[in-house]
Structure formats: structure tokens, C-alpha cells
Amino acid sequence: MFDWPTFLESLPLMAQALVVTLQTSLVGLAFGFVIGIAVASMRLSPTPLLRRLGGAYIFVFRGVPLLVQLLFIYYLLPRIGLPNIPPIGAAIIGLALASGAYIAEIFRGGFLAIPHGQLEAANLLGLSPWQTLTRIKVPQAIRLTLPALVNEMILLIKASSLVSVVGLADLTRVAQNLAASNYLFLQTYLVLALFYCLINIPLAGLGSLLERRLGRSA
């Protein structure tokens, strides 16, 4: 049976943890976004070395499980002289590096979908490469890939359930602690799943709405 008093008691803690999960995911996504644009630009650059580096980045950060990447950060960053990173910093670094690789692939598709003539036009009008990237390419690529980016956000929020390995008290970790003390495993984890569903299902709805919009206008 559902134990309401215990549930209500745990709510403030879970709400706090929800904020941590959202903060970590959103900040991670924001940095991942910047990394993604940079890596996608490298992948499409005329310089072979940059293309290789971009490709290698994607290969490594998409190929290695996020959990292993987080373990790397947790165990190895202190060893290379960065001992005082707080857990939330380590978690954000981990999520940003990994999502950067996925976002780079999304953006590569977005950049390739922009008609070449537009870039020539920007060039002829005297826009610098940086201006072309930020004023012409990125805004269009975002619009074209918005459904995929929303989907990436869902994946990232789900992936953030692993950040407890770097010691961060996110939703999953807090639920684990609660379950360990109240012994209501099923109830606590169902509530945990419900929290994720409450964020992700509306996001998924937004994603498919955007997809339909985009499909119509395209």
C-alpha cells in the first residue's frame, strides 16, 4: 500500500533534488551546446586535422558509456591537479562533454541542411566567418534541429541519474538514500520514476509538436 505520510515527508527533499537534477542537466546542456557547435564546425572544416579531431571527439565521447566518463572525471581529475572540483562541477563537466558529442552530430546535420548559396551571400556581403556562424548558421541550424535538441535534452535528464557516482545528491541519489532508510523501495522508486516522467513526458510532447510544426513549414 502507498504510505502517504512517508511520501509527504520525503517531498521537500525530493523537490530540492529535482532542482539539482534540473540545474545540472540544463547547465550541462548549455555547455554541451557550445561544445557541440564547435565540434560540428570542426567536423565540417576544410582543414583535415580539425575534421579528424572533431571526429575523434565524437567517437570517444559517444562510444564510452557516460558512467565510465563520470568515473574518469571522479577518479582522475584530482590526479591531474584539479582536486577541488565540487560534485556539481564534476557532474556538469561530465554531462557537457558527453552531450557535446551528440549535439555535434545533430548540428552537423543542421549545418549541412543550410543552402550553400546563403553562406556565399553572407561571404559576399563581407560577414566574417564568426558572424556567419553566429548570425546565419547557428540560428537556422537550431530551428531545423529543434526537435532533435529537445530529444537530446530528455536523454540528458535521464543520463543525469548517473551523476551520483561523482557524489552529487540528484533525484536518483536522494531517492536511493530515502529508500535505504524507509525500506519502501517500490514506493520510493515509483515516485522517483514519476518525477522523471513529469519532466520528460511534457518535453517529449513538446518535441513531437515541434516536429509536426517543422514538417509542415518545411
Binding site: 558509456p65 590526479r79 535521464k158 536518483t172 522517483l192
Partner: protein, 221 residues
């Protein structure tokens, strides 16, 4: 930072055993996921509204829930609804259920990609629904959905790392175990990364090879 090879070479046997467990859980999970996913897709398409709506909800809920949370529910929550599972069974089942909803979406798209007339032709020749799915629709859509299937299978390969959290002795668990025992985190984590990269690369190569084989006779003019 020195790289001490003996940390690894002294423990080849447990590492290989961990790799074996990774393979086992991966394959079994993929297999269950494919079968369940195909079942869900077929029921969604042909099962009428009373099946379609609950299945849709099931898909949305599982897709919104992290794999780790699903594992916790099965492994720690399971006994409360009479499902006491060994870690490895819970892990495989969790992989299967988690993968099934993604596979179901892939199959659903595949079914929709087969022209309606090809199904009508089979119907007019008296073929049953299952014969039509098995002989006409599945082989035809395979070319279209194979890349997505392979992609999902490699994603599930990476998800096996999460199984270490519910104490399944797969590759990640074994190597981090060696790491905390010897404090040789550089060696163990590097080997772990390389191991997964090789697995992922092999499976996507295999996927490409399959795509070429299957696509050879299915290229539409």
C-alpha cells in the same frame, strides 16, 4: 602518471569474465527487447484502440524513465510485487524492457514505410496476417530500419555499464573493482574505455556490413 601494464596482465581472467557477462547481458537484453518491441509494434498497429492507448502510455513512461531507475524498480522494488530476481536476471529483464519501447518505435516506423498495396497484394493472395508480417513486411522494412536498430543495439551495449550499479559483475564493475583495490585508476579506466570503444566500433562495423548485404538486392530503381 605511469602506466603499469601488470595491473591488467595479472588479472586477465577476471577481466575476460567481466567481458563475458557484458556480452551475455547485452545479447540477452537485445533479444528480449527485439521480441517485445516487435510484439508491441504489431499490437499497436493491429490491436485496436483498447490496446493502442495503454501501449502508447507504456512507451511514453518507459522512455521518460532513466534506465537506472528502471533497474532499481525491478531489482529493489520487485520483491514487493512478488518478483525476487537475481541481479543478472533483473539486469537482463530491465535491458529488455528499456530497449523494447525504442525497438517498438523503430518497428512501427518500419511497418508504416511498407506501401499499403504490398499488404493488399498479400491479402488478395490469401496470406494470413502473420505470414504477411513475417514474409512481406518485416524483410522489406529491414533495409530501412536496420541503421536505427543497430544504433539502438550499440546504445544498449553502453547501457550495460549501468548494470554495475546493481552489482552485476560485468566489465565496468570488474575493472573499477580492480581500480579501487589497487588504486590504479588510470590503467583500469583506460582499459575500460578502450574495451567499450572496441565493442561499439565492432558492432557498428557489423551493422554496416549487414546493411550492405541486405541492401544489395533491395535497391529500388
Amino acid at each position: 602518471m605511469m602506466f603499469d601494464v601488470s595491473i591488467i596482465t595479472d588479472r586477465v581472467e577476471p577481466i575476460l569474465h567481466g567481458l563475458l557477462v557484458t556480452f551475455q547481458t547485452w545479447f540477452a537484453g537485445v533479444l528480449i527487447g527485439l521480441v517485445l518491441g516487435l510484439g508491441i509494434a504489431v499490437l499497436q498497429l493491429f490491436g485496436g484502440r483498447w490496446l493502442r492507448i495503454p501501449l502508447r502510455m507504456f512507451i511514453e513512461v518507459i522512455r521518460a524513465t532513466p534506465f537506472l531507475v528502471l533497474l532499481f524498480l525491478l531489482y529493489y522494488g520487485g520483491p514487493e510485487f512478488g518478483l525476487s530476481l537475481e541481479p543478472i536476471t533483473a539486469g537482463i529483464l530491465g535491458m529488455g524492457v528499456y530497449g523494447s519501447v525504442y525497438f517498438a518505435e523503430i518497428f512501427r516506423g518500419g511497418f508504416q514505410s511498407v506501401p499499403k498495396g504490398h499488404v493488399e497484394a498479400a491479402e488478395c493472395l490469401g496470406m494470413g496476417r502473420w505470414q504477411c508480417i513475417w514474409r512481406v513486411q518485416l524483410p522489406q522494412m529491414l533495409v530501412i530500419i536496420l541503421p536505427a536498430l543497430v544504433n539502438m543495439i550499440t546504445i544498449l551495449c553502453k547501457e550495460t555499464a549501468v548494470l554495475s550499479i546493481i552489482t552485476i559483475p560485468e566489465l565496468t564493475m570488474v575493472l573499477t573493482g580492480i581500480g579501487s583495490e589497487t588504486f590504479a585508476f588510470v590503467e583500469t579506466l583506460l582499459v575500460l574505455c578502450i574495451g567499450y570503444l572496441i565493442l561499439i566500433e565492432l558492432s557498428s562495423r557489423l551493422g554496416l556490413w549487414l546493411e550492405r548485404r541486405v541492401g544489395r538486392f533491395l535497391v529500388r530503381s
